[in-house]
């Protein structure tokens, strides 16, 4: 069984944004929009995260136009699997939280 991992918020929103191919700035805008302005990925943080996610094979850069440095990325099958696992974990967190706070669980 693979090690259970909890994604950081930045990783989570990057993966989510890349279900549709996007470039760096597009990811920032999408994360901000999805979270109603709450999650703002800073450039340095995003750049580092994109590189690590590529190394892990969770996302891939798409072949860009010649001469353009603007890279687009897309999520991979592996990344999609990680995202699905995380969704299950988050669901558990929410269900447990609600149950305890509503007094259904102690």
């Amino acid at each position: 069984m693979p090690e259970q991992i909890a994604l950081t918020e930045a990783t989570y929103y990057i993966l989510l944004s890349l279900v549709t191919p996007r470039h760096g700035y597009g990811i920032m805008q999408q994360a901000e929009e999805l979270s109603s302005g709450r999650v703002r990925l800073a450039a340095g943080t995003l750049y580092g995260a994109l590189n690590s996610l590529c190394e892990k094979g969770w996302i891939v850069p798409l072949p860009g136009e010649a001469g353009s440095r603007k890279k687009e990325y897309r999520i991979t099958e592996k990344g999609l699997a990680v995202l699905t696992d995380e969704l299950g974990r988050l669901r558990e967190l929410v269900e447990n939280g609600e149950a305890v706070l509503k007094g259904e669980l102690q």
Binding site: A10, A43, T45
Partner: protein, 168 residues
Amino acid sequence: MSERKTVRRWFWVWEFEKEERWLNTMALEGWTLDKVGFCKFEFIRTEGGAYTVRLEMREKDADYTAFMEETGAECIGRVVSWNYYRKKAELGAFDLFSDLDSRITHLDRIGKALLAIGLANIAIGIANTFNVGHFGWINLLCACLLMYGLGRIHGKKESLKLERELRE
């Protein structure tokens, strides 16, 4: 020709946050950083608070610079390994890091640079003390200072790591 002024000021490496605060206070007062040199800051007259200024230690990386420009930031210049950026306030908030992990990575990078230069100074200092015997103490003094800096950076990093155990 817009109004310009040059300020000479020294900041220790471990004071980079103080340096950044100072540059942003200047920007709020209508003096936006326009050029950097060794201990030298050139400002241009702008509206107060028109720009946000950030600095980061990072080796030259054209992809990163292109990435920053894509987000609306502008690279003002580079001194040793320090890069200075600014972004128009009207284009939105400007931060380089938005989580603890990337702040820790940045401090790690600074720490490694200090350690490398510090160790080099110790080696040169010892070699000079035994061989030439005159100015080795200067290198050893430099090494002490760099190690002090390393300690300061390490302290900042450790407090972020403690916080990291509780939140992102």
